[in-house]
């Protein structure tokens, strides 16, 4: 269990983390989301005492700096390639293990586990980003800790690697461990995370389960399909709904599915489909953090906008 209270960090005139408080429960994967520059990495560094700021983080009731052999309690992966280029991967882990009374045998075990057993005596300067991430995970798992803090662990991994990482983290969570993981891959986070901490410009936007986040930050839509569906549009709009045509279907926002069904029945319109379209985590994320991105790129400019037969508002 991680309990973060009042985390605060200021760099001169910029508040990077603004009094963040949240809990990360064991047994589930908790995703940590936020736009670039929102303070995710700084928050993780504050939690581990790498950065100085205000507030307190407790790992199963203990501050990180007071844990005698912390790798046995908390495993961390914060940077993609924090290795000396000419020290072998195995020796890098042996060094960290030596400071936490972890046997060399365990070093070989975790190297095998992350799939680097064949290259463990090679120097990390020759590792790809994906291999470096695997070594980082091996480092985090070295002490078989109950808590894992991972900053963008899927960066640089190929699709197989991402799938593997997801399975590993879900399995570790199922063993009752506390998993706190940040990622920019929202589709991946949707599959991996059970709970979310979402921040923007260092402040808390949301802390809770994924379904609630999506529900809270998106409008659910109702899909209506049928030979006479277009004729229902005016009726729906008169009830305050926003209606968009998508081929032979209508996508209705602002009305519950039951109400749409009732209106169709009352109007005598034959329907072949009446369903709810659930928004994605990405849509919810964009909606929740739209105003809090620190580095916002310009929209691409197209030379000529093609006519769009679909998605036209009625």
């Amino acid at each position: 269990m991680i309990t973060a209270k009042g985390l605060y960090k200021r760099y001169r005139n910029t508040v990077a983390v603004d009094h963040l408080s949240f809990d990360v429960r064991p047994g589930v994967v908790t995703g940590f989301l936020g736009p670039n520059g929102s303070g995710k990495s700084t928050t993780m560094r504050l939690m581990l005492g790498l950065d100085h700021g205000e507030g307190e983080t407790l790992f199963d009731g203990q501050r990180f700096g007071t844990i005698r052999r912390p790798m046995n309690e908390v495993g961390a992966l914060l940077e993609a390639k924090p290795f000396h280029p000419t020290r072998s991967a195995r020796n890098h882990l042996r060094m960290l293990a030596a400071g936490n009374r972890i046997a060399d045998k365990r070093v070989d075990e975790v190297m095998e586990f992350v799939g680097l057993g064949d290259v463990k005596r090679k120097k990390p300067k020759g590792y790809s980003l994906g291999m470096a991430q695997r070594l980082g995970l091996a480092q985090a798992l070295l002490g078989d800790p109950r808590t894992l803090l991972l900053d963008e662990p899927t960066n640089g991994l190929d699709p197989h690697g991402i799938h593997w990482m997801r399975d590993v983290l879900k399995t570790l969570a199922a063993e009752g461990r506390t998993i706190f993981v940040s990622s920019h891959l929202l589709s991946e986070m949707q599959l991996m995370a059970d709970e979310l901490v979402v921040i923007g410009r260092g402040t808390m936007i949301f802390n809770g389960d994924v379904d609630t986040f999506v529900r809270e930050f998106t409008q659910s839509q109702v899909v209506v399909r049928g030979p006479e569906a277009a004729g229902l549009a005016e009726t729906l709009k008169s009830e305050g709904a926003e209606v968009v045509a998508e081929g032979d279907a209508l996508v209705v926002s602002g009305l519950e599915i039951g109400k749409v069904g009732h209106l169709a029945f009352t109007a005598g319109v034959e329907l072949h489909e009446l369903s709810t379209r659930r928004a994605s985590l990405e849509e919810a994320f964009m909606s929740a953090t739209g105003a809090s991105g620190q580095f916002v790129a310009k929209e691409p400019v197209r030379a000529a906008a093609p006519a769009a037969p679909e998605g036209e508002a009625l």
């Binding site: 790498l50 700096g65 290795f83 000396h84 030596a98």
Partner: protein, 261 residues
């Protein structure tokens, strides 16, 4: 503390640079003793030859071993920042004081062992060539040998402090080479110009020059044309070098505790 020492010992032993820096340091200093032996094998040996042979030419301004060991001192912390390993290090050993103490103990112990080994190797060369080492355990040669060991240790301490202070390798290397070789020599040279005689009182506080005086055989005699520098005694000069090392180390340590990793 034992965990931190174990970590630091493994860190030092798993770096290739540790071996080649020590190896080159020993090779060069042994080379000095061998060169002396080849050149002077037919001449009778005296305390001055033993002195130069044992300190590997550090006595006349070329402290080879001290420089190579100081680079190991710089790497102790400089490498951590240069390669970003300070993050895994501090998530493995979050108690910063304990980490620095462990680094100091390991680097200084290694330096002491290597320095004593270098002196033993060079003494072996002296015995092989001349069969004796006159005045080795007598003053001033014996005292200057103790001074040599202290000089190397303090030189390494300065390197360690600079690596931690600058949180990198290049800046620390520049300072540790530039200061004794250029800045101090320049101040000393300029102080002999009458128009710049206000620099004369500064000379006795030049830290690396003072440090080198710990291993001198006799007090320097600059001749009647030179100003009176009113130099400190051997151990007082050593105290200036030690104070300089302590100042660098304290500043670096305080900042290390205060700064983000």
């Amino acid at each position: 503390m034992l965990d931190a020492l174990r970590f630091e010992w493994t860190r030092l032993l798993t770096l290739r640079s540790t071996y080649w820096l020590i190896g080159v340091g020993l090779l060069v200093t042994t080379g000095v003793a061998v060169l002396l032996g080849v050149a002077g094998r037919n001449d009778p040996i005296n305390a001055e030859v033993v002195w130069i042979a044992l300190n590997g030419a550090a006595g006349f301004g070329l402290p080879f071993l001290a420089v190579f060991m100081a680079i190991i001192g710089i790497f102790a912390c400089g490498h951590e920042y240069r390669h970003g390993t300070i993050q895994p290090t501090l998530t493995s050993l979050p108690q910063r004081n304990r980490l620095i103490v462990a680094k100091l103990v390991v680097v200084l112990t290694t330096t002491l062992v290597v320095t004593l080994a270098q002196m033993a190797i060079n003494l072996g060369v002296v015995y092989v060539v001349w069969g004796e080492a006159p005045g080795l355990f007598e003053d001033p040669l014996g005292t200057s040998m103790i001074g040599y060991v202290l000089y190397v240790l303090l030189y390494v301490l300065v390197g360690f402090g600079l690596g931690l202070l600058f949180r990198g390798v290049p800046s620390a290397l520049v300072v540790i080479f530039l200061m004794p070789l250029i800045i101090e020599n320049m101040i000393f040279g300029l102080s002999t110009i009458p128009a710049l005689d206000w620099l004369v009182p500064v000379v006795k506080f030049l830290p690396f020059t003072d440090g080198a005086r710990m291993m001198e055989l006799a007090a320097p005699n600059f001749g009647p044309e030179m100003p009176d520098f009113d130099l400190f005694s051997r151990w007082a000069a050593g105290g200036v070098f030690a104070a300089f090392a302590a100042l660098i180390l304290t500043a670096a340590w305080v900042l290390f505790k205060k700064r983000d990793a």
